[in-house]
Amino acid sequence: MVEITLKGITKRFGNFLALDNINLKINDREFMALLGPSGSGKSTLLYTIAGIYRPTRGRIYFDDRDVTDIPPKDRNVGLVFQNWALYPHMTVFENIAFPLELRKVPRDEIERKVREVAKMLHIENLLHRYPWQLSGGQQQRVAIARALVKEPDVLLLDEPLSNLDTLLRLEVRAELKRLQKELGITAVYVTHDQAEALAMADRIAVIKEGKILQVGTPNEVYYKPKYKFVGWFLGNPPMNFVEAEVEGDYLRVYSSRIPVPSHYREIIEKLGIKEVILGFRPHDAQIVKGVGDGLLGEVYSFEPLGREQIVTISLDGVFIKVFAPEEESFTFGEKVTVEIREDRIILFDKEKEVALEYLYKD
């Protein structure tokens, strides 16, 4: 159980800058998700923590111990891969026992520890099988068992659920979260699936092009995105963005006008900014039929999803998506007004695509 500190981690592959001055602290027993699109550098960061990659610059600490120059085997980390990386010529038992055998643990102790961890992951009746005789979910459990059997200080997971089908993924998601808390192990979880990160992590670090954009609890990154990218990347459907112009106490959005949200009045005044991007989540607005106070538009399309429906609305040719209750019915081309929950509005700088409050703080 350790706390991980990354100080100014930079990693270059030739001319390619994979990680750019990463500073991050992962608390003891914390479940940290590294979230980003493919090629963002999140896996590189994970492998740097594991010691498979050496940072070009920067230091890595496990508690107070500088592990930057320590080889992977001496960092005591457990690693779970996307493809699980089970040794195909070994049985489940041999797979799980492998890390212990390398450590020259006595035979009877290996036996005991393997059975213990197999029991914890409900695979004790599969120990004599080979990986190809297992389902995806079972293989995944074996991979986690193999990572946990050596009682690592840190559990590193590289998209461990993305090879599972949707239903199984939801099931394992809940289980993995529970397991991490029960073991009280520090976990770093790489994923490109925002729902997974939101559902499982204590905190999320959003990574793009080798830089950490924002670190925070799922609530923080979801509701208070620091960058337009974060708002767009998290949530399904993503955050809506429309261009707006400041006109005194009002924001002009195409042909509509809404008051400047109260939490932004002071900031806008101080920054003297004119052009902004208005962001809001699809569930933070409601659709009112006819013309009223809010953003005026017309229904472009609607997709019932069971409990609710996604309505696509055209604001003078710009599309936004808003959730509406299932019982409401719409027609194509219908005139509607979108009323946004004022306290949930985020305003971004048009050039830098940063939320105004952060611009103001910097």
Partner: protein
Amino acid sequence: MNRMGREKIKDLSFFLFPMILMILFFYIIPLVMTVYTSFTPLRNWNVERYLFEFVGLYNYERLLYMFQHDPTFKAVILTTVVFLGITLVINVLGGLVLALATFFINERIASGFRLLWLLPRMSPIAVYSLVWYYFFHGSEIGTLNSILMKLGVISQPIPWGQIIPWGAWSILIFVNGLVGVSFGMIVFTSALNQIPRELIIAARVDGASTWDISRKILIPLMRWHILYVLTWQFLSLLTTFHHIFLLVQWNLINRDYGTTLALYVFNTAFGRGEQDQGLAAAAAVILSIVGIIGGYLTLKLLKFEKMMKKPRGDF
């Protein structure tokens, strides 16, 4: 036979006939001719006189007699066994070591290194043999001799290939082993590249050394490839004679301890002096039987029938 069956046979024969013809003309017919010839006293290609004379197992009895009493033929058999055994081990182990070594080093260096080992296979047989002819030449023009003399290790040139038996054998094994190693290396390298990198990373994180990874993960995963290379090299070493022919012909290595059974067959049938095709055919049949038994054993060992899975779907 029902209609479906007949259709199937028609389709099958259409697609298979080029290969069947090839096998018929270049394998089955020569094999039958060889077996037939081994029962005739054919010699000096005097077909009219000998080809239709039947002598039963006479040629085989001669081989057996030679095997018991003729020192030259004994030397041939011994040379074949030693050459085959040692070169096979060198080929398979050498290929394995090279593949593993290049697997763990920087890719750019590795491919240059592999190319270097491919050179013996790429160069024409005569050119390649000539290189080693000059290298091991028994007079002072030989590269090895002149190096050793310059260094003062020896004062007189040594006729390496005429030292029997091990001088001749060493050159034989060295020259052929160098060609064969690259085959194993290529097969093993491609096998290694098929192994997911994560398996190696996982093992490294768990504390495995390069030796542990090679022994416990990579080599077990290459089991099929190793047995395949073993079979292939066994059969090709059993029948190879090109390099050996040249080295013997050029008098670089001792004739008796430089001739394998394959070359013996060739020399007896087509060589200088009196040619004895009947005897050569009998020896060739023996060679084929050894090859068939060896090939069959390794296929059994490979559990080859297990690898041949029935295709899915309706046919």
